[in-house]
């Protein structure tokens, strides 16, 4: 499924700094199938998250979001639960690549502290805007770099590469 980059709308789930991969994809659930693993996503800090998050909701977080392990189930669990995009002050490097590769948009959002849990957001990842309908505010976020837009619009690295390899 290709990621939508403009006019995304959803509620905000707000988290702080250094939300690590072990919170997103706990070690004890790592041998389980994705659907089961995803039910444990963030359970140690918000037991309601996995069952309450809706399709298209956003994660809004501070620095070091996704810090730690290279396990891409951290990003995959969020995508499986329907998260539309991650807006973080500073996403961790491997998490960032993993998420894009799986078709889940992640952008830098320096104004994360302007958002409160449950705020109704409209996000444009091409032009880099976050409209907060609840608070009637508008803030910049980093747009998705052009060369990664292709990957996201293809639905991730594998479908993107499939097209490229077939062309060769």
């Amino acid at each position: 499924m290709s990621a939508k980059l403009e006019n995304l709308r959803g509620r905000a789930w707000v988290f702080g700094d250094n939300i690590d991969t072990d919170l997103l994809a706990p070690g004890h659930a790592m041998r389980k199938p994705l659907a089961e693993l995803a039910q444990h996503c963030l359970e140690a800090i918000d037991p309601q998250f996995a069952r309450s998050v809706h399709q298209g909701d956003f994660i809004v977080a501070g620095t070091g979001f996704g810090i730690g392990s290279s396990r891409e189930q951290a990003a995959q669990a969020l995508a499986h639960l329907g998260v539309g995009a991650v807006l973080a002050v500073a996403p961790a490097r491997i998490f960032y690549r993993n998420a894009i590769n799986l078709g889940l948009p992640v952008v830098r959002f320096p104004h994360a502290d302007s958002v409160r849990p449950g705020d109704d957001l409209v996000v444009d990842l091409v032009h880099g805007c976050v409209y907060n309908l609840t608070r009637n505010t508008e803030h910049d976020c980093e747009p998705v770099p052009e060369f990664l837009r292709d990957v996201l619009q293809a639905g991730g690295l594998i479908p993107h590469l499939r097209t490229r390899l077939r062309r060769q």
Binding site: D20, D22, A44, G68, S70, A90, G156
Partner: protein, 422 residues
Amino acid sequence: MSAHTLAEKILMRASGAASVRAGEIVVAKVDLAMMHDSGGPRRVAPYLQQLEAKVWDPEKVVLVSDHYVPAVDPQSAAILSLTRRWAHENGITRFHDMQGICHVVLQEYAHLRPGMLVVGGDSHSPSGGAVGAFMVGIGATEMAGVLATGEIWLRVPETVRVSWTGQLAAGVCAKDMMLALCRDLGQNNDYKAIEYCGSAVTALPMAERFVLCNMSAELGAKTGMIAPDEKTLAEIRANGGDIADSALQWRSDENAAIERVVEFDAGRLAPQVAAPHSPGNSLAVDQVGRVRIDQAYIGACTGAKLTDLQMAAQVLRGKKVAPHVRLLVAPASLRTTQLAAADGTLATLTAAGAILLPTGCGACAGYGAGVLAEGEVCISSTARNFKGRMGHATSQVYLGSPFTVAASAVTGHVTDPRALLH
């Protein structure tokens, strides 16, 4: 001729560009790809099928089973079986099945050389920088892309130089240096290459240099590196690797663009302990206060190599583990176990009451034996103490050097090892 950093030089060679600068994106050819049983075949095989692609060069792949070893249930047994089958079907000859933790095995078998561009399907991949390679961690989808094409896009990182002057005191080691850095540099050094240098770094044995690069992951860095010297080449040769003296050319040029230089005095460094739930939550051991422990754990790539076991043995010689504490030791590799058995280190540890666990990643990431119950407190020589990583979400993990873990096992609470060293 313009000057370049070590990271830039390696990415220039691997991308074929005449010159690169920090911030640019390059598409580079990968010299070696390393995977393990958790993020490896079980995850990449379906992707390769979707791509109808084969491994671009089986000679350039190293596969290590270290996470689910030995199997404890049918699920982990199936993962290990799938890993073996995939290695065979894809002609992967450099397959290390239960011989140790991937990052340690890579160096023990001399798979790395200065100047190589290496990707690893594990976040502690910066470990490879200890020999002057540029090694970065990637996820499984990205690994499938590398296996299909032999290439990866990378942003050329800025280099931050961390210089440790002076010499470490007795009872203080590389783990203490990194726990201090996780606090002082913070954990959001995203996309940076950290280059370690200075007299205290030069003096470190290769296994300790490894710890600096390994825990660069905890700094949030893209990678950590140490320019090769005679010690580097001697280690590669001792491990059976063929390497010319010309490999010493892999170092930053004199006037290379270093983003910033940070200096620390190794002589003033005390043993460090990171309190729950972050490696950056560290302080000098004497500032921790009285913390009673249930478990002491010596394990993982960063904390259970031969040098680590020897540090613990130095503290434990002639002493006993406190009655209410369990001391668990999971050697980082088969070779570590063999050498520690031969030189008497294992005998010293077990005489003190240590329980030997299988070689592998073990409880570090909560996969193997030695996980914690509700509310339990552990001091560990591993690299991460994230909430719930090593067991129950309410368990508490303190990080310390093997010296500090061993000393704490003896007294039953978090303890400054310098008081117990002979």
